[in-house]
Symmetry: C2
Subunit: 218 residues, 2 copies
């Protein structure tokens, strides 16, 4: 039986007021906005690359990409057809916060867009603690990460409005118990809308796109 050493939880909330201000600006311009969070390599950028061409001619998209280093992701978003793509380099910081998004919004003429996609730093812990002011939080899980992640990262799974399960094309090659995974999700976040899909094969992407478009039109 392992010993248990509890450490007091850090509660971070100073960020919230600026998140409200971001939300007010986004709403005033009539955008729908999402905050995409995930582990490194779960497929946030791949999902954006696969989403943008399917929205072309229907929805004008601005992408704000948070990364510790490089502008690889913003470059990929621009190449995939984002009408605007802004890179936030966090300089080592492990999450985006409302201050950083505020700075990015300053660079955009928000009325030119219908959808704002914020791609957070790849991290299954810290981004969950920092509200940005977006309408919906979307978690991208992926099959190779393993089926125990809801149990081990409850803060992230509890707080999101939608859950993408990416890389379902790898299910034949990986021991992943979908029942166990979904029981964990359901316990933390009952009824959360879920999109199993594969950015590689395209399977399941239609339902995700429909959800985005419905929210943009609302």
């Amino acid at each position: 039986m392992p010993l248990n050493i509890p450490i007091a939880e850090n509660i971070l909330s100073a960020n919230d007021r600026l998140a409200e201000e971001n939300r007010t600006r986004i709403e005033a311009a009539g955008l729908f906005s999402i905050n995409m969070m995930a582990s490194p390599g779960a497929g946030k950028t791949s999902l954006i690359e696969n989403t943008l061409p399917r929205l072309a001619d229907k929805v004008r998209v601005a992408v704000v990409d948070g990364d510790i280093a490089t502008s690889l992701d913003a470059d990929r978003a621009a190449a995939a057809g984002a009408q605007a793509s802004i890179q936030i380099n966090t300089g080592g910081q492990c999450h985006l916060d409302a201050v950083m998004l505020h700075g990015a919004l300053d660079q955009l003429d928000l009325k030119q867009f219908d959808l704002l996609i914020v791609e957070n730093v790849g991290n299954l812990v810290c981004p969950a603690d920092f509200r940005l002011g977006t309408h919906k939080s979307v978690l991208i899980a992926s099959i190779p990460e393993g089926d125990d992640k809801p149990y081990k990262y409850p803060g992230m799974y509890r707080g999101v409005d939608a859950l993408v399960i990416n890389k379902i094309d790898l299910l034949p090659y990986i021991p992943f118990k979908m029942d166990f995974f979904q029981r964990g999700v359901e316990a933390l976040n009952p009824g959360v809308i879920t999109f199993p899909l594969s950015c590689r094969t395209g399977e399941g992407l239609d339902a995700w796109i429909d959800w985005l478009v419905q929210n943009v039109k609302r």
Copy 2:
């Protein structure tokens, strides 16, 4: 061309003195110690599960497991044959620090062990900033995370003493350019010792075990 918004880097060093104290205690007891870091789901716990049976009768191992929630990992380490396994629940915090390891060392009779394995919280950012006092830092990368990770998480790749590349059994099913990955590693951490392996098939594990045993005997 994406815009670039730099944010000042946070430098955390208050932790270092206690890390020195941890190191002194570990050395006094004659242990070799490693700090295992990785993204969520890269395979830290799987690697521990596959390592312990191969060290049985040769090396006495204590495992300290850092997690945000649950004792799943410490339970798995105990089941795999760790002579001692201690769970640190960080209460939401995204990394282990020297204070937490200090508390865990208090629970161990260090002279009973040859090897101390610390499994950090699954996170490719924050753990790199907090020295614990262990001898070597080991990063577990994995094929499904993608070949761009050294470029996007340079802080982690730059600071480690050994690099495990897990899940090589998935190479046939995933577009992963090993050359591109290794060029990134080499630029940040020239000559770092690398162990491509698969915890699932066992391929490549021998070299990893040899490295551990050599370091324990030193």
